[in-house]
């Protein structure tokens, strides 16, 4: 056990802190605008600033513009980003998902064309995985890709179908898109392996055949979109990892999804809890034994989350493979955040149930936490089957 940082890691953190103090929200970045489009531009500008400072792709190799940071340094980066009150960069999908996936599976031409514009936010990304009938059951995607000329293997692909939960699609240049190219029979027949016949594409969003419609959430704001594709065109050169290999490529993307983010989210949770404790002390509700018991429980959970995230990192560094911490932290974080915003109603009072208030928004937004990025039920099943080794449900 050693819960300290090395001198090198401390130096990394201090350099980052100094940079964030100058360029972050307390420095030149300033406050986030309310308007959605302006907020996007603001976060895009923030990513450019990060990029110019060499901080946009800390975990990326140096050859492709990253800092070549270790896992621990990457974790420190996300902790400090959260601690400083800075937002995530606009194109977190490109930096955390598309970039690493292309580095693993993309060919030279794809890497040369696509990687350089990610960190600078010159071209941003969205993720076209989920569909109305393929959420948790992701392998059931129905969106279909066919050859424009069936006799010419080099001809373009024409893609038709519907994708959902595509955040940032209205701003994105590229979409990580999974579509069905082979039979796989969509899982209709017993025994059919529906994850076969999937292919991973990079779709150019700038074409008329791609229709982006905002999807309004229970908060009233359209954080996500729906994507309607009608013969959307993708050249053969934008197939990633080979035709029919989409399931494996997509898993790479999904495995990258949580790396680092857990540290950012954990710090944000801590900050929200600190704000709530401050309100409770100010208005006297912390004297209520039930409320103080709940606040203490949230403190304990938030600490457990931080420690679990570090324990997960240790498992990867020491043994080369992640432990159960990924699913555990996702589950624990979403549940804890929901408990926190629910308790806030009892602590803050009327304001938390008032439309357009910050607490009111968080109360509603948090309901999505246990659904997005893999529902809690899916996390529990992953833990049961892959960590505890229980037999798969028949």
């Amino acid at each position: 056990m050693d819960l300290t940082f090395t001198p090198e890691q401390l130096a990394f953190r201090d350099e980052l802190r100094a940079w964030l103090a100058e360029h972050g929200p307390a420095g030149s970045l300033g406050e986030e605008p309310d308007d959605e489009d302006e907020s996007w531009e603001w976060r895009r500008e923030w990513q450019r600033t990060l990029s110019e400072g060499g901080w946009a792709g800390v975990h990326w190799p140096k050859e492709v513009g990253g800092r070549g940071a270790s896992l621990t340094e990457t974790a420190i980066f996300f902790e400090e980003l959260g601690r400083s009150g800075s937002p995530l960069p606009a194109d977190v999908l490109g930096i955390l998902l598309a970039g690493p996936t292309l580095m693993s599976w993309g060919d030279d031409a794809q890497q040369e064309r696509l990687l350089p514009t990610i960190l600078s936010a010159d071209e941003t990304w969205c993720q076209g995985f989920s569909e109305p009938d393929a959420g948790s059951d992701f392998a059931a995607v129905k969106t279909r890709a066919v050859k424009a000329d069936p006799d010419d293997p080099d001809s373009d692909w024409l893609i038709t179908g519907q994708k959902v939960w595509t955040s940032g699609a209205q701003y994105a240049k590229w979409c990580m898109l999974v579509a069905r190219t082979g039979d796989g029979r969509g899982g209709q027949e017993p025994g059919a392996k529906k994850h076969q016949g999937l292919t991973y594409f990079v779709l150019d969003m700038e074409q008329e055949e791609v229709d982006v419609r905002p999807l309004v959430q229970i908060t009233g704001s359209p954080e996500f979109n729906e994507l309607f594709l009608t013969d959307a065109r993708v050249p053969q050169s934008m197939v990633v990892g080979g035709v029919g290999n989409g399931w494996k490529v997509a898993l790479t993307t999904l495995m990258n999804e949580r790396a680092g983010l857990a540290f950012f989210l954990q710090v944000r949770l801590r900050q929200a809890l600190d704000r709530l404790v401050a309100v409770a002390q100010e208005n006297g509700s912390s004297e209520d034994p039930v409320i103080s018991d709940r606040l203490a429980d949230l403190h304990l959970r938030t600490e457990a989350l931080r420690l679990m995230a570090w324990k997960g990192l240790t498992a990867i560094e020491q043994y080369g493979q992640p432990g159960p911490e990924g699913s555990l932290t996702k589950w624990l974080w979403s549940e804890t955040n929901q408990l926190l915003v629910q308790l806030a109603v009892d602590v803050v009072g009327a304001e938390a149930l008032t439309a357009d208030s910050r607490w009111g928004y968080e109360l509603l937004r948090a309901r999505g936490n246990s659904i997005e990025g893999g529902t809690t039920e899916i996390q529990k099943t992953i833990i049961a089957e892959r960590v505890l080794g229980l037999p798969r449900a028949s």
Binding site: M1, F5, S292, L390
Partner: protein
């Protein structure tokens, strides 16, 4: 940053698990409990404590386990709280019928809150295992493991008031049959410690005068949490093994999502208790090793919260995980024949010992407002 036991610590834990895997089986536990429950015939062996595995107790003392965290100058091995927790976790995993927990917690309290004389008087005897100990709070809320009249008794105020030490033969421990029939328990019915009043003739104030207690009792609570971590890990392991085997409706019951998700919840509760317990143990060791004044002050402020988080999470997990183990075993889990009930009973006592989850959450609530969130600052890999 390495949230994992070091090679040496893993070696200690492996050795403990290997030894106990052979010596402290459930079959052996049943023998010990059966002897205790047998009708007395002839002259009873007064040297033996009912519910205790005498041979194993002697063996652990010979191996030096009782003195593992006691300084070498007092006859111990001078290792840290992390090592002590690693061993105690294994004793919990085995539900070993030994008076270990009382003895090592008593030693921690004497070591960190006693005077030089008190340390010199008692630690060598506790280290050798010749003397048993027991540790509890005032208020008599729980049968205390190891609390017999022959033991050194440490009684503290749960809210940080003074603590007292009672030499063997003080006559304050009463016999008690706990729901956990192993290892031997007693009760110490002291409602409170009044600094104005005279103590029992065999009693003395810990630290010489009535002074606020905490540093030793916090460490003791972490060790109880470590035993709970072992107990709940065993409950999880046994449950997972059982639901893979047990078939109903033609399939293993572990393939049903209701069962799977119950097991996943068990794992999560175990994992939370585990990270918070080892975090607290590490914090205590880092505090002991810290040389810089500021660093010491920071860690000293963190330890009470870290210990309270550990005990709160472990106490809750102790109850929920062992209850889930009985539930997921179904009908057999409710029988004497299945072994999960030993875990449930041990967990119930430990969950209440040295403060339950509610008590420790109250401590967190009163302290977190003034205590900054822990944040790694030092780079000394001192207590690897």
């Amino acid at each position: 940053m390495r949230f994992d036991l070091s090679e040496d610590q893993q070696e200690i834990q492996r050795a403990a698990r290997d030894l106990l895997g052979g010596r402290a089986t459930f079959a052996q536990l049943r023998t010990v409990v059966a002897e205790k429950d047998a009708e007395p015939t002839g002259m009873p062996d007064l040297s033996r404590t009912p519910g205790e595995d005498a041979a194993l107790t002697a063996e652990l003392a010979e191996l030096g386990w009782t003195g593992i965290a006691i300084p070498e100058e007092h006859g111990g091995q001078g290792l840290g709280l992390v090592e002590l927790c690693a061993i105690t976790e294994e004793l919990g995993y085995a539900v070993a019928a030994v008076p270990y927990l009382g003895t090592v917690t008593a030693a921690l309290v004497v070591q960190h809150e006693g005077t030089e004389d008190q340390r010199g008087d008692w630690l060598p005897h506790l280290a050798s295992g010749q003397l048993r100990g027991a540790t509890t709070y005032t208020g008599d809320r729980v049968p205390v493991p190891g609390a017999t009249d022959a033991a050194l008794l440490l009684v503290g105020d749960p809210h940080g008031g003074p603590a007292a030490l009672y030499a063997p033969g003080a006559g304050i421990a009463e016999d008690a049959e706990a729901v956990d029939p192993t290892r031997g328990h007693g009760r110490i019915p002291i409602p409170e410690l009044d600094p104005e009043e005279e103590l029992n003739p065999r009693g003395e104030w810990l630290g010489g005068t009535p002074t606020p207690s905490g540093a030793g009792f916090d460490r003791a609570a972490v060790v109880v949490a470590a035993e709970l971590v072992g107990v709940v890990q065993r409950a999880l392991d046994m449950t997972v093994a059982y639901v893979k085997e047990r078939r109903q409706f033609g399939v293993p019951v572990g393939s049903f999502q209701a069962v799977q998700h119950g097991a996943a919840q068990m794992l999560r509760d175990v994992a939370m208790a585990r990270v918070l317990t080892y975090n607290a143990a590490w914090t205590a060791d880092a505090l002991s090793a810290a040389e810089d004044e500021g660093e010491r002050a920071r860690l000293a402020a963190e330890l009470p919260v870290a210990a309270a988080m550990a005990k709160a999470a472990a106490s809750d997990a102790g109850r929920t995980v062992t209850a889930a183990a009985v539930q997921l075993h179904g009908g057999i889990g409710f029988t004497w024949e299945a072994d999960v009930h030993w875990l449930l009973k041990r967990a119930q006592v430990d969950a209440a010992l040295l403060g339950g989850a509610g008590h420790h959450r109250r401590r967190i609530a009163t302290r977190t407002s003034s205590v900054p969130v822990p944040e790694p600052t030092a780079d000394e890999p001192a207590t690897d």
